[in-house]
């Protein structure tokens, strides 16, 4: 079975096979013998062999290296969060990409920029009106969540197109707030 796995913008081809009672995971042509034991519905204990270099930074040169992993869905991005030990890694399997990469206007390239709510909360203030000229980093909307007010700023200079929210409104993560033309 072949999977396309994206981590940090890089795609890996990952295959799983089994022969003579051993599971082998191949990542971009590098083979690892794995003993995976499910601990609970989302946690695994992996013992991995044949991975030269793995964990060298921790001084372990042994042949049977232990990894404790927990796999949970990420509500915001639709990817999986894989905690390797306590280190979280965002993983997209078979084309599940970060929604933010194309939709949240995080990069300041050309084209309309969409400002979306980065978390659920309440719109406390709307600081711009449709048609306003705005400078980069100018505050547009103030969202309150968990007792803190967070200013969402323009990611580029431009003209405010549409305002999709009003003061007092509750929003979910990912709700479109403002478009800058």
């Amino acid at each position: 079975v072949q999977y396309e796995v994206e981590i940090n913008g890089r795609i890996r081809q990952v295959a799983v096979s089994r022969s003579e009672g051993r599971i082998t995971v191949t990542i971009d042509g590098r083979a690892f013998a794995v003993d995976p034991v499910r601990v609970d519905s989302q946690s695994w204990s992996l013992i991995v062999e044949g991975a030269r270099g793995l964990r060298e930074e921790r001084g372990s040169q042994g042949q049977a290296r232990v990894f404790d992993v927990t796999v949970t869905p990420d509500a915001v991005t639709g990817q999986l969060t894989v905690c390797v030990g306590a280190t979280p890694v965002m993983v997209g399997v078979n084309g599940r990409r970060r929604r933010g990469a194309s939709d949240d206007g995080a990069h300041a390239g050309g084209g309309p920029q969409k400002i979306v709510a980065p978390m659920p909360g309440k719109i406390v203030r709307v600081l711009a009106r449709a048609g306003d000229a705005v400078a980069v980093r100018q505050p547009l909307v103030v969202v309150e969540a968990m007792k803190m007010e967070n200013e969402l700023r323009a990611t580029r200079a431009g003209t405010v197109g549409e305002i999709h929210v009003r003061e007092g409104q509750s929003v979910d993560a990912g709700t479109l707030l403002v478009v800058i033309q």
Partner: protein, 506 residues
């Protein structure tokens, strides 16, 4: 005191429940709609609903809390921190209802709760205060009047909520052109957080450290200060790491600053637990900043190095008992303790709040580790309240070993489903300036700005490989579990999936 109503939620409600249990006192929880299954409810003897999730309709409703205490036949109320902990009307309402309020008197709360009045008390006690406006800036003041008051204090300055605390309703203003916007923002936040929009101005000292002194006062006139806490690691005026003792406070300075704190507390007629905050400048001079008339978030580190139980003392003092601890013990730290505040915030996304469901949670434990946590796996971190999920505390014989122990514990701290500040702490506790204790209250904001949003945890290629492997194994086995007979054509794949599943379940 046989039964205590805890007018709070989250980790501090759990902390107070634990003290109650150890004293044979029955704890009563209160909860808003979204907190029905919260840990503090599950651990209590009784629990009473007090309204909708918004704090203004539940945890801030004095009438409902008093009704709840009556309904439960509680004889005392512990307010925790935040919410109504520093609200003199609540303390008043408790005494009107013949409930013991576990905290200072309403008069002391009112006096020290007003930042401007508290500064006057400190001055009377002979303790220097940070230069600033003596009176609040009137709510109706014109922009011109505001600008004039600010010019008298001098730039850079801080706009601070008179009723404030925890960095809420506070703004830094570098120059006059930013003043009006900052005052409006601070007023709005102060109104939301404290129900009081009054603000005042305070000069911003150059590179100060934040040093604070925990103290206890009984109802017989005894005030005991504790060894200082170092709380200079702040992000936007919000403490994120605290430690005790301070790496820069000498025995002479300790004697002076704790003596000053006790003098202010005595001048205020203060009882129960409180904390006096100071700014310490590079020359070693210190200035009274404000008093917190409640138990502090960071009280555990003091407990760790003085082998005391501050919540237990709060209850004993409220019962009228005498503070019979040896004041020298309170000022003699045993070892070193550090606290990291684990917030539901995404450090890699400008620390935006990250509420949501905790899908997996495995807190660290082992020697010298204390985790004061209000959350459990499967529960939601609601959007309505403070993002503090847990306080991780490490104790060891000295500072380097406490840091090493904290790093070890952070490495064990598994949280999935929400983002937390754990990765940020793992980075911070590795910084040479932190390790050498070269920091002041401006340190963290400056280094964060200099990093420019680079991720705190950049997993190595090896860790990424393991993550890829785990995601694929999990996906393959999860789908085969869901639809055991519907696997696609490849019989071999079907067979290994079934076998792997069987092994996984063995």
């Amino acid at each position: 005191v046989k039964k205590i109503l805890i007018a709070n939620r989250g980790e501090i409600a759990v902390r107070i429940i634990r003290a109650c249990r150890e004293m044979g006192i029955s704890p009563v929880a209160v909860y808003s709609e979204c907190d029905r299954a919260a840990l503090h409810v599950r651990l209590a003897d009784e629990a009473i609903a007090i309204g909708p999730s918004a704090p203004g309709e539940s945890y801030l409703r004095i009438d409902r809390l008093i009704d709840a205490a009556r309904a439960a036949h509680a004889d005392a109320v512990h307010p925790g921190y935040g919410f109504l902990a520093e609200n003199e009307d609540f303390a008043d309402a408790c005494s009107d209802a013949k409930l013991v309020f576990i905290g200072p008197t309403p008069a002391a709360i009112a006096l020290m709760g007003s930042k401007t009045a508290a500064r006057a008390v400190a001055t009377r006690a002979g303790v220097p205060v940070v230069p600033g406006t003596g009176e609040p800036v009137p709510v109706g003041a014109s922009d011109e009047d505001i600008a004039r008051a600010a010019a008298e204090v001098g730039y850079p300055l801080l706009v601070k909520a008179v009723a404030g605390g925890g960095g809420k309703g506070m703004r830094t203003v570098a120059e006059a052109s930013d003043l009006a916007h900052a005052v409006r923002a601070a007023r709005s936040e102060a109104q939301t957080a404290f129900g009081d929009a009054a603000v005042y101005f305070e000069r911003r000292l150059i590179r100060p450290r934040h040093i604070e002194v925990q103290l206890l006062g009984d109802t017989h006139g005894t005030v005991v200060p504790f060894v200082e806490r170092e709380c200079s690691i702040q992000r936007r005026h919000q403490k994120v790491v605290e430690e005790t003792p301070s790496p820069v406070v000498s025995p002479d300075l300790r004697a002076a600053i704790t003596g000053a704190a006790a003098a202010v507390a005595r001048a205020a007629g203060y009882t129960n637990a409180g904390t006096i905050e100071f700014l310490l400048d590079a020359s070693g001079a210190f200035y009274f900043l404000e008093m917190n008339t409640r138990l502090q978030v960071e009280h555990p580190i003091t407990e760790m190095v003085t082998r005391s139980d501050l919540v237990r003392w709060q209850i004993r003092i409220a019962r009228g008992e005498r503070l019979d601890l040896d004041p020298r013990d309170a000022l003699t730290p045993i070892g070193h303790a550090i606290e990291c505040r684990i917030y539901a915030e995404d450090p890699d996304n400008n620390f935006l709040p990250s509420p949501g469901r905790i899908l997996a949670l495995r807190p660290p434990s082992g020697p010298g580790i204390r985790d004061d946590c209000g959350a459990v796996a499967g529960a939601d971190v609601p959007i309505f309240y403070d993002p503090l999920v847990s306080k991780l505390i490490a104790w060891a014989d000295d500072r380097p070993r406490a840091i090493a122990r904290m790093q070890r514990a952070l490495g064990e701290y598994l949280v999935a489903g929400i983002r937390t500040t754990v990765p940020f702490f793992r980075w911070l506790l590795d910084q040479p300036d932190f390790l050498e204790a070269r920091f002041d209250t401006t340190y963290l904001d400056a280094v964060l700005a200099a990093r420019g949003g680079r991720p705190f945890l950049e997993p190595s290629a090896d860790v990424e490989d393991i993550a890829a492997m785990a995601a694929v194994l999990h996906t393959a086995l999860a789908s085969s579990t869901a639809r055991p007979d519907a696997a696609p054509g490849d019989a071999g794949a079907k067979r290994w999936k079934a076998q792997a599943r069987a092994e996984g379940l063995r």
